[in-house]
């Protein structure tokens, strides 16, 4: 009787264990794309890179990165205004840019991307640009007085940004492109249309400057750029490659900082 019970248990177990299921591997790609359209930029920059095996040591050095640039792709951007061919090496040795001058990026418009690589890989992407954005604060030419942080020998000013528009945006990027003097620079993400940011400057760098003029750009960003850059999604607005095809619509303002 004991053994009959054990056999019964094993029979039930066998039925269930036969249903073992393992998840499928995600599709892998050989290329990555960084392409974020911007209405404020003179040239649109499309970056196409090969992926690197994990076993390869990598670095952020420009010359190192250049090794991974795909230089022989056929790239085309399709906007409501027409089709625009992109070519490698026009403005930079890392990127592709448009070959004709008529390309303009408009708010609330759909743009498509098509890339054909020599090995037959076809990469496509779609983005919808956010609505027009306008900086309300700070106003053009507004002057900010720099305060001194004694402990760290830094100068800083707290700047309140206030924006209008940007419909369909998933967030905003504030860019103060003055890296030589700004400790804080680059692209800073803010979620809301009103934000207070502290701009800091190394006192050593601006010791001979009484009034510092800075052009600050603020962009409304689309869902693709947000998902890739902020949320960390590997593929956003793009197929058959990692990276992002996104867009941002911006406004700029010039402000002054005085001691």
């Amino acid at each position: 009787m004991q053994f009959r019970a054990i056999i019964f248990i094993f029979a039930v177990a066998f039925i269930f264990f036969s249903c073992v299921n393992v998840g499928v591997e995600p599709q892998r790609h050989s290329y990555s794309v960084m392409f974020v359209l911007s209405n404020l930029d003179k040239h649109q920059r499309l970056y196409i890179f090969k992926t690197a095996p994990f076993e390869e040591s990598t670095s952020f050095d420009r010359h190192f990165i250049e090794k991974y640039v795909v230089k022989d792709a056929d790239a085309e951007l399709i906007t409501s205004e027409g089709r625009f061919k992109f070519k490698y090496g026009i403005v930079d040795s890392l990127c592709y840019s448009e070959t004709s001058e008529g390309l303009k990026i408009f708010p609330n418009s759909e743009c498509k991307l098509s890339i054909k690589i020599s090995d037959g890989t076809e990469i496509t992407g779609v983005t919808r640009t956010p609505g027009k954005v306008e900086i309300i604060k700070p106003s053009n030419g507004e002057i900010f007085k720099l305060s001194r942080e004694e402990r760290f020998r830094r100068l800083y000013a707290d700047v309140v940004f206030s924006l209008r528009g940007g419909e369909g945006a998933y967030g905003y990027i504030v860019n103060a492109p003055y890296p030589e003097v700004s400790i804080w620079g680059g692209y800073r993400f803010v979620q809301d249309t009103v934000a207070k940011l502290r701009l800091e400057f190394d006192e050593e760098f601006i010791k001979n400057i009484d009034t510092l003029k800075l052009t600050i750009k603020v962009y409304a960003i689309d869902t693709n750029f947000y998902h890739h850059a902020v949320m960390g999604v590997d593929k956003a607005g793009i197929a058959n490659a990692y990276g992002v095809f996104g867009s941002m619509i911006g406004d700029s303002v010039m402000v002054k900082f005085v001691r």
């Binding site: 248990i9 499928v24 591997e25 892998r28 890179f49 992926t51 990598t58 760290f152 890739h228």
Partner: protein, 770 residues
């Protein structure tokens, strides 16, 4: 003259020796005839005494003459003997003591009720002897003992965090005297917060638990503290290589008894003595436990349990110059709780019980620092759970028991943290992690992708009515339970159910079919970050939609196949819906499903000098996110566990534990690509970042591992002292268990993190009868 004096001395001493005789014998239980350990044997007329050893044996040297010997033990009626002897030699006594349980009848009734009612549930009873015999790291620990049971998984060999029968750790509830304990750990999980001396009994329900335990969707570890009055020593203490433990009981009145247990790590004190570097204690923990029991008129028993367990880590003092610290409050985390219980005997085994509790889990710290910039950290996490539960148990017939009750539970979640420049991850893993830390974002310390700053306040309450019935027919036993639950989190009523059908195929074989449905309203959300060595503090969050679990368990028990043995074969299938999970690499959440199934074989034999068990477990555990099914972090496919406890000599025991387990899953990284990156602390977007390309989530498995642990334990009686020295070696042959592969974007090979190494330890338990 000198020779004459020497001669006199020798003669006198010989005379003195010859005027003594030996009194020896054994003390046994009158009803069971089993030896009784720790009987206090006092020679009343000369004030001398000893205690019996584990064989009930005692021995005393007494002068010639008449002596009145008194035998006392808390669980037995006192006994007196008068002996007279004027010649050398030995007097041999065999004393039988009569048990006295009358004054603890409520406890007896309650334990009896539990045993009958939930007898055929799938469960493991963990008693003090098993905990004591388990070879572990540094000292005994109930959670480590639980990890030795079939189907229980740990993510590495250091942690005491348990994953029971295909479920995450937060799906198994840990209770102490009815209080839910949310983070029952010290030292990041290397020790549990339970001093083993306070433990009276513990039961692990790994699946298909009784419906009264509906708060957790997978299993229950129900720990009841020791009822004061059963302890046979006035003072118990243990000195291990890290901690000092104490336990004592005090009679506050004729019917009221107080038990106190304390533990503190003392390594920090030694470090302070050894090095100036550690003048400020880098880390310490302690726990204090007290239980007061009052018996009133033989029909009412009240008990009040309170505890505090706390870890304190002076992270700022260790890592920063005092001149750089503007303000700091050392990171401290732990638990505190209070439980009140009233049992009233109505008649025979009919009684009612009322229990209320409050349980708090906390993590707090605050600091402002100057370190090449201004840094600050403010963490104030509090979870306060309180509730009341009452039921009446009636037994109208001998084979029928009915339990009707209701409960109310309220949980307040108060979480706040804000950090800039101070990495919470560093704080919680500093000085503990062996290998280079995984490049995790600080906010993931508490749960996946939590924002910074985080300010979360929420309250949920739950009201339940339940019924539990037990009916025993000739060969059938039926246990059914239903529980109606109303939760404020979604204002809905849910029905938890449980059905257990047991059929006795023969006197030696029974088969049980168990079904249970449970709802879990509180969950820890953390399944994305790589496994860590330690688990210091987890943030539990309320769920708007509860996790719904279905359990199916088929269990067969076969007794006496070879004699004095038992074979348990259990098959389980658990399904889960509504598990809140983070989406891979995204700061988003989704509700996902889970399924786990497995088979456990457990065979044990018990003899007087030898007991052992062997178990084999097969298990699979999967989770699903967006229709993608992947193995859960705790998906251990095979494990074999063997435990042997043998009495080597009259004074020494040997315990061995060997485990083989298949490796746990990990997510492989195949390649890297250039894209954008994001700094959570700085909110900056960085172009040209090398991002990692993952393979399937948890689609590869770490290497299998095996380990042998050994423990020797002695037992010596010296006067009124009992010494129990122990020597144990954890991972005897130093077989490294890899518990994690770390992939960093700048490196070209994953590093392997060792999850175990050889750890020898010694200690001694000293018991004293005053």
């Amino acid at each position: 003259m000198i020779k004459l004096i020497l001669l006199l001395i020798i003669l006198c001493s010989n005379l003195a020796i010859s005027q003594r005789f030996t009194l020896k014998g054994t003390v046994v239980d009158k009803s069971t005839k089993l030896p009784i350990e720790n009987v206090n044997i006092e020679v009343v007329n000369i004030g001398k005494g000893t205690i019996s050893d584990r064989d009930g044996y005692f021995e005393l040297k007494l002068p010639f003459g008449e002596h009145k010997i008194k035998f006392t033990h808390l669980n037995y009626n006192p006994h007196e003997e008068t002996i007279h002897r004027d010649t050398a030699g030995a007097v041999i006594l065999k004393i039988e003591l009569e048990p006295r349980y009358i004054e603890f009848k409520p406890v007896e009734v309650q334990s009896k009720m539990k045993k009958v009612e939930y007898e055929n549930f799938s469960k493991f009873e963990i008693n003090y002897d098993f905990i004591k015999a388990s070879p572990t790291i540094v000292e005994e620990d109930i959670l480590r003992t639980v990890a030795m049971l079939p189907g229980v998984v740990t993510l590495n060999d250091f942690t005491t965090q348990i994953y029971v029968w295909g479920s995450n750790f937060d799906q198994t509830g840990v209770f102490l005297d009815g209080m839910p304990i949310y983070n029952p750990y010290h030292f990041g999980g290397i020790f549990s917060m339970f001093n083993q001396y306070i433990i009276g009994s513990a039961t692990l329900y790994p699946g298909g638990q009784p419906v009264v335990y509906d708060d957790y969707s997978s299993g229950i570890l129900d720990i009841e503290s020791k009822t004061p009055g059963y302890e046979t020593y006035d003072l118990k203490t243990e000195i291990s290589m890290a901690n000092l433990k104490l336990y004592t009981e005090v009679n506050l009145s004729k019917a009221g008894k107080l038990a106190i247990g304390m533990r503190r790590i003392y390594l920090d004190l030694i470090l302070r003595l050894l090095s100036d570097e550690f003048k400020r204690s880098p880390y310490y923990f302690y726990d204090i436990f007290a239980r007061y029991s009052l018996l009133s008129s033989g029909k009412d028993m009240f008990s009040l349990t309170g505890f505090v367990s706390k870890d304190v880590f002076d992270y700022f003092g260790v890592n920063w110059d005092p001149a750089e610290i503007l303000f700091s409050k050392m990171p401290a985390w732990g638990n505190a709780g209070l439980s009140l219980r009233w049992m009233h005997i109505l008649k025979d085994e009919n009684f009612f019980e009322l229990r209320s509790y409050v349980s708090n889990s906390f993590f707090k710290t605050k600091a402002e620092l100057i370190d090449l910039g201004w840094k600050f950290l403010d963490v104030n996490n509090d979870l306060i759970d309180w509730g009341i539960n009452g039921f009446v148990q009636l037994s109208p017939f001998e084979n029928l028991k009915l339990k009707v009750g209701g409960s109310f539970k309220n949980v307040d979640f108060n979480y706040f943290w804000k950090s800039d420049g101070i990495d919470l991850w560093d704080i919680l893993t500093a000085e503990i992690t062996v290998e280079e830390r995984v490049d995790a974002r600080s906010e993931e310390v508490f749960f996946d992708n939590a924002p910074n700053p985080f300010d979360f306040k929420r309250r949920i309450s739950k009201t339940s009515l339940y019924f539990d019935g037990f009916l025993k027919l000739k060969k059938f036993q039926i246990n059914t339970g239903v529980k109606l639950i109303h939760s404020s989190s979604n204002n809905q009523i849910k029905l938890s159910t449980n059905l257990n059908l047991t059929y006795n195929l023969s006197p030696k074989v029974d088969v049980s079919l168990i079904y249970g449905r449970y709802y879990q309203y509180i969950q820890m959300i953390k399944d994305k970050v790589s496994a860590t060595l330690t688990a210091p503090f987890s943030v539990f969050l309320p769920l708007e939609t509860p996790i719904r679990a279905n359990h199916f368990v088929v269990k067969t028990g076969v007794k006496d196949i070879f004699g004095r043995d038992k074979l348990d074969v259990s098959f389980y299938l658990k399904t889960f819906d509504g598990i809140k999970s983070s989406v891979d690499d995204m700061r988003l959440y989704t509700y996902s499903s889970g399924i786990s199934y497995g088979l456990n074989l457990y065979f044990n034999q018990e003899f007087k000098w030898f007991n052992w068990y062997v178990s084999y477990s097969f298990g699979r555990a999967f989770k699903e996110v967006d229709d993608y099914w992947y193995p859960a972090n705790y998906d251990q496919r095979h494990s074999v566990k063997i435990f042997v406890n043998v009495r080597l000599t009259r004074k020494w025991d040997l315990s061995l534990f060997w485990v083989y387990g298949s490796g746990l899953p990990y997510t492989p990284i195949y390649a890297k690509y250039l894209g954008y990156g994001y700094g959570l602390n700085t909110s900056q977007v960085y172009p040209f970042t090398w991002n990692l390309i993952s393979g399937g989530r948890n689609s590869r498995y770490l290497p299998d591992y095996h380990r042998l642990d050994v423990k020797f334990e002695g037992n010596y009686v010296w006067g009124r002292f009992q010494f129990k020295p122990f020597v144990q070696i954890f991972n005897v042959y130093n077989n490294v268990r890899v518990f994690r592969y770390e992939f960093l974007s700048y490196s070209s090979a994953p590093s392997k993190s060792p999850g175990s190494f050889i750890i020898p330890s010694i200690g001694v338990e000293i018991n004293l009868n005053l």
